[in-house]
Subunit: 219 residues, 2 copies
DNA sequence: AAGTGGTCTAGACCACAAT
DNA sequence: TTGTGGTCTAGACCACTTT
């Protein structure tokens, strides 16, 4: 199912496969020809070339830099799903983790936060917004809302789904609007079941994958 | 970070927000106006409308049906990350699970499968390809390669990342080429560490989210 | 100034579904 | 046949980077 066997592929998809083959012959960070050159060379329109390039960037095979060019991307990094940070995971891959705090403050809980954190509507909630980095490159935007009176987190429910980059996220993450992202939300509680925090993280899908180990529940 | 505050939004993105607002006023399965009508009404080109519609479909807000029209989508379903099936999860959401076997057979292990399953190159490996359904709608394509001599799986390493639908996957899953998908791979072992199977599943990102519960490892 | 990627347009033509 | 979404084109113009 990884190939297009059995389905008629649109022209842009064949272009995409040709370009993917090109990236395999080149190393990471190698530049590939300009869009207008590719359109001529592949006897197609720039629009068609661009659709192929955009998808390859969305899959983490190419990096596109406005004004500079398009380059072969480095492989994805991964992180283990857990409650604490994933910094050690990155180091184990030879990638230097980092973080930049974008905003810290208190906000009044709206109805949604009130329900998630177990505080009254209008009560103050701690809000922290951070940019997570891998080798200095933006990896994710993480927004935490924390109940200021809660204890330490002992367990958490995590959801993972796809989303598309908003203009704001695209700017922060150095990617394009509409590129696929991994949206991870985590709702943590103390051992007593008291809500601690609610974290919403948007990871660049082209750069990140999650890993977790499962045990069979029933045997 | 869910809004476009702070970043200049392209025109198609404002169109997208207007259409999203429209879906909120309508119920699931309600039809929305045709692309050409929207282009006139919103004083833009059909291309711009289509980019907005495509992203909304990728986010699971709209369903587009070739020749029929565009409709408000139903909410995503979710599944728990675990080694056995997710059928009970779906039933708990009032969704009827199903599966259709696409292909069953034996293939000779290539180098990759040999390494993953611990069998010699050229040795036979069981291959099963299935289409997972939710309320009769395609939800995922699942390909399993199994070591025929292995015992029961006791643990598994799971990775979750984004990918884009290939023409073949798009056909099977009733979606469009290039739409964002959740790629889940699972490598299972017995309690003794013997490889059992390797499963590659492509879930429609617009229809599915994963849920898992974590415990803090160190306290 | 020149070259790159990013957005947007207006239109042609195709494929599919309903009438 | 008509209306829908799907693909593709050729070109204009903008934004960013480098020279």
């Amino acid at each position: 199912m990884t190939t297009d066997a059995g389905a008629r592929a649109p022209k842009y998809y064949r272009v995409k496969e040709q370009l993917l083959e090109l990236t395999r012959t080149l190393g990471p960070d190698a530049p590939i020809p300009a869009e207008r050159s590719l359109a001529v060379a592949l006897r197609t329109s720039r629009t068609t070339v661009r659709r192929a390039l955009r998808e390859l960037a969305g899959e983490g095979r190419l990096d596109r830099v406005h004004g500079k060019g398009t380059f072969v991307a480095r492989p994805k990094v991964y992180g283990t799903l857990r409650l604490d940070s994933c910094a050690e995971d990155l180091r184990a891959q030879g990638v230097e983790p980092g973080a930049r705090t974008l905003d810290v403050g208190r906000v009044a809980a709206d109805e949604k936060l009130s329900g998630l954190l177990g505080v009254g509507v209008g009560e103050p909630v701690l809000r922290v917004e951070r940019l997570l980095l891998a080798d200095g490159e933006p990896l994710a935007v993480e927004t935490t809302h924390r109940n200021p009176g809660a204890g330490h987190a002992a367990e958490g429910e995590v959801t993972v789904e796809t989303t598309l980059a908003t203009p704001c996220e695209a700017t922060l993450l150095h990617t394009d609007v509409g590129q696929p992202m991994l949206l991870v939300t985590r709702h943590s509680r103390t051992a007593d079941g008291e809500p601690v925090d609610w974290v919403r993280s948007v990871y660049r899908g082209a750069r990140y994958r999650f890993v977790t180990t499962l045990l069979r529940a029933t045997d």
